[in-house]
Symmetry: C2
Subunit: 195 residues, 2 copies
């Protein structure tokens, strides 16, 4: 990795932390430059605008998510074990990527709810791509006979995402100490007690 790429990676690691703690709207060039010990103009040379920095941070977080949540499935048994593994690691995200605070993608949902533009579009695509991954895992679990033959992968994926999204609410907003246990029980019910 050249010096430019190293510097960029340092900035994005700091930016991802900021996004978890203060959202993407908190990604202002000056405070971030201070955090990584650069000048604002030096940081500006890498990203050019706050929006470009937000998108780069989203991409960086998506790569981390892929590496920490999705990729380990390769070493798990095909079908339901992989699906259960991904869901379990998703519950533990972003802490399992050494990120502080909350899921940056859910933070982005809130911030870009009404904000049409490239950041919102990128975030919607990230969710769609991940839902497609879940659908493939569900279809595989059906093929392996771990889930009923009548299982609709798209419907199943919607319900799985619902559980994770509700976990975010129950834990983050309601401070419900049972959020984890309820979510895992709901997952077990969703897969028919087979996970």
């Amino acid at each position: 990795m050249g010096k430019g790429a190293r510097t960029r990676a340092t900035i994005l690691a700091a930016a991802a932390e900021t996004a978890c703690l203060a959202g993407f709207d908190g990604l202002n060039l000056q405070p971030l430059a201070d955090k990584v010990g650069m000048t604002k103009s030096g940081l500006y040379a890498h990203f050019g605008s706050k929006e470009a920095l937000q998108i780069a941070t989203l991409e960086y977080a998506a790569e981390l998510f892929q590496a920490r949540v999705v990729a380990p499935a390769k070493t798990e048994g095909a079908g339901l074990p992989r699906l259960a593994g991904v869901f379990g690691r998703w519950l533990e995200w972003p802490a399992n990527a050494a990120l502080p605070g909350n899921c940056p993608f859910f933070a982005g949902v809130v911030e870009f709810d009404d904000a049409a533009g490239p950041v919102r579009e990128r975030l919607v695509r990230l969710f769609r791509d991940f839902r497609a991954v879940v659908e493939q895992l569900v279809a595989s679990a059906v093929r392996h006979g771990h889930l009923g033959a009548g299982t609709d992968p798209a419907q199943f994926a919607h319900e799985l995402l619902a559980l994770r999204y509700a976990h975010h609410w129950a834990q983050g907003f309601m401070h419900d100490p049972a959020a984890d246990a309820r979510t895992r029980a709901a997952f077990a019910r969703l897969v028919g007690g087979r996970a």
Copy 2:
């Protein structure tokens, strides 16, 4: 209703609309005074602070929710019909209370996520109270034999709230045209196809 109470109701109806469209943070005294044709000091005399206005608006929205979503259950058959009725009307809220835009309670979740204080506390209590209502409806459906004897009302209520919360995300953020159908299918699965 005296003149003071009528004026207060007029202000709160306008404030609830604002909360649906722009969140509770959008409840500023001057624009709201303009909207209802009062002076800022006249409006101030009713609420005294933005925070007091936010709490009063939450209470007003909660009364509407009770009237439009929960109360009609009284005319429905006990057990599952009531549970299904409440869930269906919750999906149609806040449009079925003639409110524009999004659910004001979900808007509040976003805005008061990190904001400790009386508005957040009131909102958490509203969600807890409603979850308790759902738990009672589930327990009644179990007693009527509409749901399995082993159904845990608290777990069921968590999963029901998850579906509604995910609907908000799928429809409001993802603009998923299947959000309604997926949510209703998930509800049908949750109640074992008996609704």
